[in-house]
């Protein structure tokens, strides 16, 4: 021990060798910072300085270096570089590992920005286990270039290390060797120091992390992580999202106030239940999350040649119990967030802005996860793709989903015979195929048990490529856009057409079966193809999709509900549990009674921002525009949401469970 702690163990390279090391590390760090920023700017979206002009994008990325925020990224990269090189104690191998990480990060950042105009967030780390699925979504050329680049770097590094460590080392090789730390004590000290620095953001709380970032002049863009990354760099945005606040405590939160609320809404549910039935047994409520579905006719400026692409869904909307526009929180992605809202009945808009993915940030730690699924005896989810995204497997266990069918499922595998695509064999499973499996699940359900099903389709998921549907006649005529954009839009429209037809057939099939079925159908968000739409000017429109709650004949006869189809012409995804229970005319817990009151008395939450609502006429309102009564209801709703998600859980179990 004494020998280990001797002074010799803590010597290191000479000052000049440290400087050489610093020179290499800093050069790579600056380069990484510029390249990562390039991934933010070299995009089609046109926000801030985003451009497809290569020279302009490079120049803008270089200009980022004059922002104090750039120092944070440079420093983080430098510390990572030092950690890796000292760990492997081989300069070129260390450099190769660092460069590989940099390339992988660049590709991931570039692709996510391309699809959603959003950088990689900490919550996306749960997707690391879904490498197989992710690589399928990456631009093939970019993927090949990245793989070839990484292979070259590693082969080069191996050869250089061999050359440096050969017996007769030359001057340069000897100089490289002298840069490495040979003393164990110094190595451990450097490794500890760098590791602890890198780990600090992961153990610090949200406020401590923010204090560190503020030191580097962090400019938080609370509602837009894409803009946040453009201003602060994707590394800073990532760190800002590591530890998050789920929800800030609403004023007046206490045991006493929650007891009063419980009493109030128990009484309210009792009054509503006088006309409701305890009737879910033998019924099915099926949620269909239609991936990236929106009506192309409603996209500002878009004109195309071809038959009405959405005519069947529009007709179903007219025949539904409830229908209208859904206010999504995402654009080009964020499916799991919309899905969470539709199941839990909590809008994203009332959580803290730092809470960006409930399945990874909230569900694993929440006091209680009351979801509509809990009201059913059989609870299954179907997804014709891999199940590793968004931490769904763990999240589903927590919210009580019994079976999760995916193409990579071991225990519950999505059957291959329902994976037939439309058009090219490289496409995702067609909605027609997924609907067939959904129908099979409904028709084979136990007649005495209630059933909850959720299908998340894949057919219209990005990427969209030219000639994806060779039989399609849809041609985009306006606006004038680049050839690539035109082709992707045309492929998307063709995909919507196939969904439209398949959905009509699904509804026809369900109409004729004897089991009561209530179908909650919605498009989760816009696809990321309408890059010509200015999101600043069309914020509301670009977050509106279509939804309907349809009941088959058996369900209509069973529920005998008297509803107004336009009651929720604009709905938040969080309204769906209450609306579904209203459609089935089912009895309510105090929790769902509160949600029902929200759907009846509050305008819909605009989940793409905070503090805004959309009324039934499509007008955007701010919180200050609400009536006193509405403000009170909103406050009560927030109190309940806080108590169940991150508060003290004062509400009793009977508040949320039957």
């Amino acid at each position: 021990m004494k020998k280990f702690l001797s002074k010799q163990q803590f010597n290191g390279p000479t000052f000049n060798n440290w400087m050489k090391f610093l020179l290499i590390g800093l050069s790579l760090s600056v380069l990484t910072t510029v390249v990562l920023q390039f991934a933010m700017y070299f995009q089609v979206w046109g926000r801030f300085d985003q451009t497809l002009d290569l020279g302009q994008a490079i120049w803008t990325s270089l200009k980022f270096l004059i922002r104090p925020q750039a120092l944070f990224t440079i420093l983080a990269c430098l510390i990572l570089f030092v950690f890796i090189v000292v760990l492997v104690n081989r300069l070129f191998v260390g450099m190769a590992i660092y460069l590989t990480l940099a390339v992988v990060t660049f590709v991931a950042e570039y692709m996510k920005m391309k699809s959603r105009n959003e950088p990689i967030l900490f919550s996306d780390m749960s997707e690391v286990t879904a490498v197989g699925g992710l690589t399928q979504m990456v631009d093939k050329n970019l993927l090949i270039i990245a793989i070839v680049g990484i292979v070259i770097v590693f082969v080069g590094a191996g050869l250089l290390e061999f050359w440096v460590h050969r017996k007769k080392a030359g001057r340069f090789a000897a100089s490289i060797q002298r840069m490495m730390i040979k003393q164990t004590g110094t190595r451990i000290a450097v490794l500890l120091a760098t590791f602890l620095t890198l780990a600090a953001p992961f153990v610090a709380n949200a406020d401590q992390n923010r204090a560190i970032l503020d030191h580097f002049k962090y400019q938080w863009q609370s509602f837009n992580t894409g803009e946040d990354a453009m201003l602060n760099g994707p590394v800073m945005t990532f760190v800002s999202n590591i530890s998050s606040v789920i929800m800030r405590e609403p004023a007046g939160y206490s045991e006493k106030s929650m007891a009063a609320l419980e009493k109030k809404y128990t009484k309210y549910s009792d009054s509503l239940n006088k006309t409701r039935q305890d009737n879910l047994k033998g019924q099915t409520v099926a949620y269909v999350l239609s991936e990236s579905l929106t009506n192309p006719d409603e996209v500002p400026g878009l004109k195309y040649k071809g038959t009405d692409v959405f005519k069947n869904i529009k007709q179903i909307q007219k025949d539904s119990v409830f229908s209208g526009r859904m206010l999504s929180s995402g654009y080009g992605g964020g499916t799991a967030n919309i899905e969470y809202m539709t199941l839990a009945g909590f809008p994203l808009a009332t959580f803290a802005p730092e809470m960006v993915v409930p399945y990874t940030q909230l569900v694993p730690v929440a006091n209680e996860i009351p979801t509509i699924t809990n009201l059913f005896q059989n609870r299954e989810v179907i997804h014709p793709y891999v199940g590793t995204f968004y931490n769904r497997r763990d999240a589903y266990k927590k919210i009580g989903i019994q079976k999760f069918y995916t193409t990579d499922g071991k225990q519950y595998k999505y059957p291959d015979k329902y994976t037939k695509p439309v058009g090219s064999k490289d496409n995702y499973p067609a909605d027609k195929s997924s609907y067939a499996y959904l129908t099979k699940k409904i028709t084979s359900a136990n007649k005495n048990k209630s059933q909850f099903l959720q299908l998340m389709t894949m057919q219209n998921h990005m990427p969209y490529s030219a000639n994806q549907y060779p039989d399609s006649n849809y041609k985009m005529s306006e606006p004038a856009v680049s050839g690539n954009t035109k082709e992707t839009v045309e492929s998307y429209i063709a995909g919507v057409h196939y969904t439209d037809v398949a959905t009509k057939n699904l509804v026809n099939k369900l109409e004729n079966i004897s089991r009561p079925v209530t179908l909650v159908f919605y498009g989760d968000h816009w696809p990321g193809v309408f890059t010509f739409v200015n999101q600043d000017k069309q914020l509301e429109r670009s977050h509106e999709t279509d939804y309907f709650i349809y009941q088959n004949k058996a369900a209509r006869e069973k529920s005998k509900a008297t509803t107004n189809q336009n009651q929720r012409a604009y709905a938040s995804p969080s309204d769906f549990p209450a609306l579904a229970l209203e459609a089935t005319n089912s009895k309510l817990t105090p929790f769902y009674a509160l949600q029902t009151k929200v759907t009846k008395e509050l305008p819909a939450f605009a989940n793409y921002t905070r503090g805004k609502f959309v009324d039934n006429n499509g007008h955007t309102l701010k919180t200050k525009d609400l009536t006193k009564k509405q403000k009170k209801l909103l406050h009560e709703f927030k109190l309940v949401q806080y108590d169940l998600s991150s508060g003290e859980h004062y509400l009793s179990k009977s508040f949320t469970k039957k």
């Binding site: 000479t14 000052f15 000049n16 060798n17 400087m19 050489k20 610093l22 020179l23 800093l26 050069s27 600056v30 270096l65 004059i66 922002r67 104090p68 750039a70 120092l71 440079i74 420093l75 030191h215 580097f216 002049k217």
Partner: protein, 344 residues
């Protein structure tokens, strides 16, 4: 590189010349228009000046002797230049010569107050907000205070302990500067201690491994930092004090290596000598330049002849350098003559 005392002395003399040239540069450049260039030189100029002051501390002297020496080098020039500025300020006000000579103080009393407090710019002092500063003269006060502190720290035998004290005091300096400026440029002196200690230990160095890699690393580190921020020494401010101090030290190391290369270069011997001449009588050079910079509106003079731009900037820079140099030589000669006469 192996260094003998002669080489080190010449290295520091060259650094002194470079420091004067850089100080003139950052004093006349517009930081808003050329922020990166300005920032770049702030990371070099201030550390170099304090490094030189640290180098010239004689640790073999007793504390009392060192303090007397510091008073002669920095405090007396500070008071003399300060009082001269206040008196001239009054004359300028009385004769209304504002077009030709600056009058930085609204009144003699406020000038005197600023001189006694030692704040460079309007700041929040321990007595509340004070809207008048003594200008660049704060530098001499900070050098005086920094020298005394370094003399005391040098008495600590264990080097790691001395370094720890310096780091702590620098941290205190940066922290205090975030909300108040204490008298006698104490905070700039605190944050300058790492550079002064570097200067002090450089004096003792026999062998220092630093070469081209150090210069290149210094350049890259400095450029990276300069892109977004500089070192505002007079109010002891940089957004990242640990990073900032490291940047300044590495930049300084790079400049020391450059100066050392000049010492050993036969090709650039004349240039080295020019720098040595410019930097001779270092504290006097500083005092003279500070007086000229504060009182002479050189921009106005040149602005009447030439439009603002690169040429006028270079002319102002050269004029400042030449005038300071000539006045310094004049003072030195006069003092020498007086000394000789006394000796006779």
């Amino acid at each position: 590189m192996v260094m003998n005392s002669k080489d080190k002395d010449r290295t520091v003399q060259i650094l002194a010349g470079l420091a004067i040239i850089m100080l003139i540069f950052i004093s006349i450049i517009n930081p808003q228009d050329h922020s990166i260039l300005y920032n770049f030189f702030t990371w070099l100029t201030w550390p170099t000046i304090f490094f030189i002051a640290g180098y010239y501390i004689n640790i073999n002297l007793k504390i009392g002797q060192s303090i007397v020496l510091a008073i002669k080098r920095y405090l007396i020039p500070y008071l003399v230049v300060g009082l001269l500025m206040i008196v001239i300020n009054k004359v300028v006000q009385l004769l209304q010569l504002n077009t030709w000579v600056n009058a930085p103080f609204p009144a003699m009393r406020t000038g005197l107050k600023a001189l006694l407090y030692g704040n460079g710019t309007p700041v929040t002092t321990i007595f509340g907000f004070f809207d008048t500063g003594i200008g660049l003269l704060w530098l001499l006060m900070a050098l005086f205070v920094g020298t005394i502190l370094t003399v005391l720290i040098a008495k600590v035998k264990k080097v790691p302990l001395a370094i720890l004290i310096v780091i702590l005091l620098a941290g205190v300096g940066f922290y205090l500067a975030t909300f108040i400026q204490i008298p006698w440029s104490l905070e700039p002196a605190f944050i300058a201690l790492p550079f002064m200690l570097f200067g002090l230990y450089y004096h003792r160095l026999v062998n220092w491994s630093a070469g081209i890699a150090t210069i290149l690393a210094a350049l890259l580190v400095n450029l990276t930092m300069s892109a977004s921020t500089g070192l505002t020494m007079e109010v002891a401010y940089t957004p990242f004090w640990i990073l900032g101090t490291l940047t300044a030290l590495i930049s300084l190391a790079g400049l020391v290596v450059i100066a050392n290369k000049l010492v050993n270069s036969t090709l650039l011997a004349k240039l080295a000598n020019l720098f040595i001449n410019i930097g001779s009588y270092f504290s006097l050079s500083l005092a003279v330049f500070i007086f000229i910079k504060t009182m002479i509106p050189m921009n106005n003079y040149i602005g009447r002849i030439l439009p603002a731009g690169m040429i006028s900037f270079i002319i102002i820079w050269l004029l400042m350098l030449i005038i300071s140099f000539v006045i310094k030589l004049g003072i030195v000669k006069t003092v020498n003559v007086v000394r000789d006469q006394k000796g006779d």
